[in-house]
Subunit: 146 residues, 2 copies
Amino acid sequence: MATTTAAQRRARAKEDYDAFMAECPSRKLLDRISDKWVALILAALGSDGPHPVGRGPGEPRAMRYSELSRRLAGVSQKMLTQTLRSLERDGLVTRTVTPTVPVTVTYELTDLGLSLHHVIRGIKAWAEAHMDEVLANREEYDARVA
Amino acid sequence: MATTTAAQRRARAKEDYDAFMAECPSRKLLDRISDKWVALILAALGSDGPHPVGRGPGEPRAMRYSELSRRLAGVSQKMLTQTLRSLERDGLVTRTVTPTVPVTVTYELTDLGLSLHHVIRGIKAWAEAHMDEVLANREEYDARVA
DNA sequence: CAGGATCCCGCTAGATACTG
DNA sequence: CAGTATCTAGCGGGATCCTG
């Protein structure tokens, strides 16, 4: 019983790496914004843009739950709520409950959330500048392989 | 048979939205870089940084498969290969095969890949500047709830 | 050395139904 | 209106074995 070393070392390395990954701020941020709906919600609250499927030159900020739900057509209530909660938890949005007849809940970007929104706009800028090139490369590659 | 409209409209909206999502360049880019290993590989090839778990002040660019494998300790061969292939397909890295005794394969960032790497560094910058604040908000939130 | 091919498990998004 | 609760299927990703 001595040859276990190889597997053990790998497992050990993986643990270390996972721990490192969990600590890494960049990784955390990527995990956050890469979430399917985060960027969209931030975009919706941040101002607006060509993001929504319908028209909606929309309002700059502070939206109700139902507004967001309509704006991000494809989202399920579960994911919308879950995502909004996590964003609130991280201090990226505020949640305001107004006890009207049926309750009214509005969401708004914090300064922190707004600054993150700017980062995302940077990503968007790169995407719009270079993504067609990426797509072209992709097609070329596929053509060469096939 | 008339009340099907509600569900149908939702389904329709979802389809439209999915189509929109699939087209959106920003979404595509996010899907790309949010991939678990993409950012790490780009960081490894882009120059270096505090990313790797071991030390490794390492080489600036052009790494062999096995080097990457060691540098990104936790990655499985499958994911490493898969990710590298997709990056090559997108024209973000080049793959060079040198027919030495046992084959030698090196990967290197293209100009496009390098420019994307810069975007990621921007993300990293935000993370390092604000992520502690996010974490603090998170703890505070959890404390309030509990 | 650098992968290809398979099997298989865990997690999570999504659909559905219910509530204050 | 703005959620909560539950159940399930699909798939991303790791482990393992094999090859040029």
